[in-house]
């Protein structure tokens, strides 16, 4: 079984959970004996590392790069500057292109690759690869799986979606053989908003790494020495993530217990607005902006926090609570998230109910036993949410699709 996969990025690309998901799935598929040709848009930081990550499986995995400058989490009309060549003096020629144009260029490359390579199934991750997946299908006639990690509705956190992205989503879903969503929550969006027949959509929840991470030295020690309690938000600062609700809940918490410090780790298009909100609510002493944290820095923050909050307005899955639990920190998560379907040992709250969010924050800081237990039992539950389980479902899906294809 050989799969032609179109993806984003691999860790340590510093963009978010998508790369983590692609990597986790690919790793376990390889373990299960599936050959993977992974096509990535060319980005400097992923290339070397991706090769490195799969160095021991060079035989099975093949990473192909195209020179497409796709970046996740952008609007269709976002312009990006691309070096298209060099003039006679050796100065780069820079041209601005919209992300849509890039997606189409990626699709063009994909159809060429599809003609060169031999494979059984096509698997494309998220909207910038959908066109590439469809192009490969048209070129090869092989079955196509589109993997939905997020929809335009999640990114907009409302029905006010980017019409260009929505159009790509809708048209590509119609051409796919199977649409995979990362949660029932996302499935309902795809079924209701994109009008995909429910039987064509399969839910495969994301997984997590199940090995115990090493304990790292604490961070924010000066706050901890003062006996402050630390509540962490980790993720992009955008409308989808509901950071504004987090800050409103913080106000409510600090009114009752001034000993709590809120750390916001991440960056995004709403950063300035959130900084202003913090000022307006007179929370400057209680909220710290840590900037985007990755790898060890992020893990140290997870381990040092007393509680992690994921207040997303719309979260297709949400890896943050899983990562937090792995590092021994309990989580409060929004009910409007896919991960809420699979995780029981967390506190769940409607993202708009900042009063209840504050109540849960205060209560879990007040009664340490609840935090201990959520971590103890939560870690136990993580064992059943491994990438291996997810990859098993993906593999069975491939087999199902292939059996109808006459060689």
């Amino acid at each position: 079984m050989r799969v032609l996969t179109f993806g984003w990025e691999f860790p340590p690309a510093k963009n978010g959970g998508l790369g983590v998901a692609c990597y986790g799935l690919t790793r376990e598929l390889l373990q299960a004996g599936v050959e993977v040709i992974f096509v990535l848009p060319k980005t400097q930081e992923t290339r070397g590392d991706a090769r490195f990550l799969f160095a021991d499986q060079e035989r099975l995995v093949k990473i192909r790069h195209t020179d497409i400058m796709l970046r996740p989490y952008q609007q269709a009309s976002s312009m990006i500057d691309v070096i298209v060549g060099y003039d006679k003096q050796g100065n780069p020629i820079i041209k601005s292109r919209s992300i849509i144009e890039e997606a189409h260029r990626f699709a063009h490359q994909a159809s060429l690759i599809a003609q060169e390579e031999e494979f059984d199934v096509i698997h494309a991750h998220d909207w910038t690869s959908y066109l590439a997946g469809v192009a490969a299908k048209l070129a090869s006639g092989k079955p196509l799986v589109l993997h939905v990690h997020a929809t335009s509705f999640d990114q907009a956190a409302s029905d006010n979606v980017d019409p260009a992205i929505f159009k790509i989503e809708r048209e590509c879903f119609a051409l796919a053989d199977t649409v995979v969503t990362v949660s029932e929550y996302t499935k309902s969006i795809v079924v209701n908003k994109h009008a995909v027949p429910a039987e064509k959509v399969q839910v495969i929840h994301n997984g997590c790494d199940t090995n115990e991470p090493p304990r790292l030295p604490q961070t924010l020690t000066e706050l901890k020495q003062q006996g402050k309690k630390i509540v962490l938000y980790h993720g992009r600062i955008s409308i989808q993530k509901g950071v504004d609700n987090f800050v409103r809940a913080a106000r409510r918490v600090v009114d009752v217990d001034p000993n709590v410090i809120f750390v916001i780790s991440g960056w995004g298009d709403m950063t300035n607005q959130i900084i202003e909100q913090v000022g307006a609510l007179r929370l400057s002493e209680h909220v710290r902006f840590a900037g985007p944290l990755w790898e060890i820095e992020r893990d140290r923050m997870y381990q040092s926090a007393d509680l992690v909050v994921m207040p997303s307005v719309s979260e297709p899955f949400g890896l943050v609570p899983l990562e937090a639990l792995q590092h021994g920190t309990p989580a409060i998560i929004s009910k409007q998230s896919g991960v809420a379907e699979v995780l029981s040992h967390v506190l769940k709250v409607d993202f708009w109910d900042t009063d209840e969010m504050a109540n849960q924050i205060l209560s879990s800081l007040r009664y340490p036993v609840i935090r201990q237990q959520m971590v103890k039992e939560g870690k136990w539950q993580l064992q059943s949410l491994s990438w291996r389980c997810a990859a098993d479902k993906v593999r069975r899906l491939y087999q199902n699709l292939v059996q109808y294809v006459t060689p």
Binding site: H345, L347, S363, R366, Y367, V369, I370, E377
Partner: protein, 476 residues
């Protein structure tokens, strides 16, 4: 001769509303949810009354009228009786009518459906007394057979019951303790000489309570004549078939559309069709048969789950934390002597609160086995602990107030005592510090604390003696 001893347990807890941290210190009502959720106690009682209590009592009354041989037992938690009185008085009346026939026995219980016996025996005793009083007041009977919350049982509980004059006690007939023996006989609890234990036939009881409406069950649909045959099969191999279950099995756990009411209607007649089969109350059963062996239960046994232990209530850390915090309050809350505080504290002891915090389902994935009005065990814990925190605060406040009052009462004489004690002690300590073996002979100033000598004069004498002592030392 084979007799059937049915026993139905009636219980409703006072569920704690979504009590938030912000409510601590501001809201003393923990049980007054008025939402549309299942935390609204009034709504639940009204709903269950319509679905279960009213129709079932109507049928039971008919059966008692039609079959003079028909008998059964009931047990009530005080919290259920209180809520009937407040929200559905007609239900309470219909129960009184049943008991008035003289063929329905009421069992002893804890008032608050608590696990107090395993945490505080004195508190347990107070709740049993309170329950007995309430039963006497409402039904004019005195229970003589005991059953504990969730049918929890242990050797020492049986001993307590024997020492307190009960004729019998009820327990689960569990294979682990029965071995090859049958639950259809009476046994003597280990360490007891008079009391007898009635064992639940869990197979036949659970056929009604749990399996009745299960369409995947091989015996579905179960008819009363089939069921009666299963009972009759025990002729010659038992004396009493003890069918213990929640009263709410009729209409609430098993809905009307399962046919449970028709089953109940036909049940006594089908059982008594066999010539040598009839019904007995618990006391009649205990008085009719002799124990055939010993039932030795050193660990807590309950009727819950396949574990038959307390793990559904105290199996995880939040449950143990919550229950321990509740009983830690005992001394202080009783000290307040405030009826409302003590009653609220007891309502928080109801075992259901801890059951809602159970996370056992997350291990076997059987979510439906654990019904809870809360969205998660953690929500249940938070609501409970916040309410308990408020109660702790109120108790602390009252205790502090009482101590301050007491202090104020004793203040005049105490002040005087304190001053003179201080004066007395100071020179003494000096003397002690300075003590050397030779000083033993020196008269100690304590002697001078004669009440006739004015303070100033006494102080002078003390200081001078110390001074002379010091000079004596220096000279040496």
């Amino acid at each position: 001769m084979l007799t059937v001893c049915p026993y139905f347990h009636v219980h409703q807890p006072y569920r704690v509303k979504r009590y938030r941290v912000f409510d601590i210190g501001n809201d003393t009502e923990y049980f007054n949810d008025n939402s549309e959720t299942d935390l609204n106690n009034r709504k639940i009682v009204e709903k269950v009354a319509d679905k279960s209590y009213r129709p079932t009592n109507r049928i039971l009354k008919e059966l008692l009228d039609r079959h003079p041989e028909f008998r059964f037992n009931l047990s009530f938690s005080g919290t259920a009786l209180d809520q009937f009185e407040a929200y559905a008085p007609d239900v309470l009346e219909s129960f009184q009518e049943l008991v008035a026939t003289g063929r329905v026995e009421i069992l002893a219980d804890t008032y608050h459906h608590s696990l107090a016996f395993f945490y505080s025996v004195p508190e347990f005793e107070r709740q049993v007394k309170q329950h007995e009083k309430r039963i006497k007041q409402l039904f004019e009977v005195k229970p003589r057979v005991f059953r504990n919350t969730e049918l929890s049982y242990r050797n020492d509980l049986a001993k307590w019951c024997e020492d307190n004059g009960y004729l019998g006690i009820m327990a689960e007939g569990w294979d682990k303790y029965l071995g090859w023996r049958s639950p259809n006989y009476l046994y003597r609890p280990a360490g007891c000489s008079k009391i007898k234990v009635l064992l639940k036939n869990y197979k036949l009881s659970d056929d009604i309570a749990f399996r009745f409406g299960n369409k995947a069950w091989e015996s579905w649909p179960l008819h009363a004549d089939t069921y009666a045959k299963w009972i009759h099969a025990h002729h010659g191999d038992g004396q009493t078939i003890n069918l213990f279950m929640d009263y709410e099995s009729f209409g609430e756990h098993q809905w009307e559309d399962t046919g449970i009411f028709n089953f109940l209607r036909a049940f006594p007649e089908m059982v008594m069709r066999h010539p040598d089969t009839s019904f007995k109350t618990a006391t009649e059963t205990v008085e009719s048969y002799e124990p055939t062996g010993e039932y030795d239960v050193p660990e807590v046994l309950t009727w819950a789950d396949t574990d038959r232990d307390l793990t559904a209530w105290t199996g995880n850390d939040i449950q143990r934390d919550a229950i321990a915090a509740t009983y830690r309050l005992e001394e202080d809350v009783l000290k307040t002597k405030k009826k409302d505080l003590i009653e609220t504290w007891r309502k928080l002891q109801t075992s259901d609160h801890f059951y809602y915090m159970c996370t056992k389902w997350s291990h076997d994935g059987d979510v439906h086995a654990y019904f809870s009005p809360y969205q998660s065990p953690y929500d249940a814990y938070i609501a409970f602990m916040n309410a308990l925190s408020d109660l702790q605060l109120r108790v602390k406040h009252v205790v502090a107030e009482q101590e301050a009052k007491l202090l104020a009462k004793q203040a005049p004489e105490k002040q005087f005592c304190e001053t003179c004690a201080q004066r007395k002690e100071e020179p003494q300590t000096v003397a002690v510090v300075e003590t050397t073996p030779e000083q033993n002979s020196v008269p100690v100033p304590v002697k001078s604390s004669d009440s006739f000598i004015p303070l100033q004069k006494w102080w002078h004498r003390v200081t001078s003696s110390v001074r002379s002592l010091l000079t004596l030392l220096r000279r040496k």
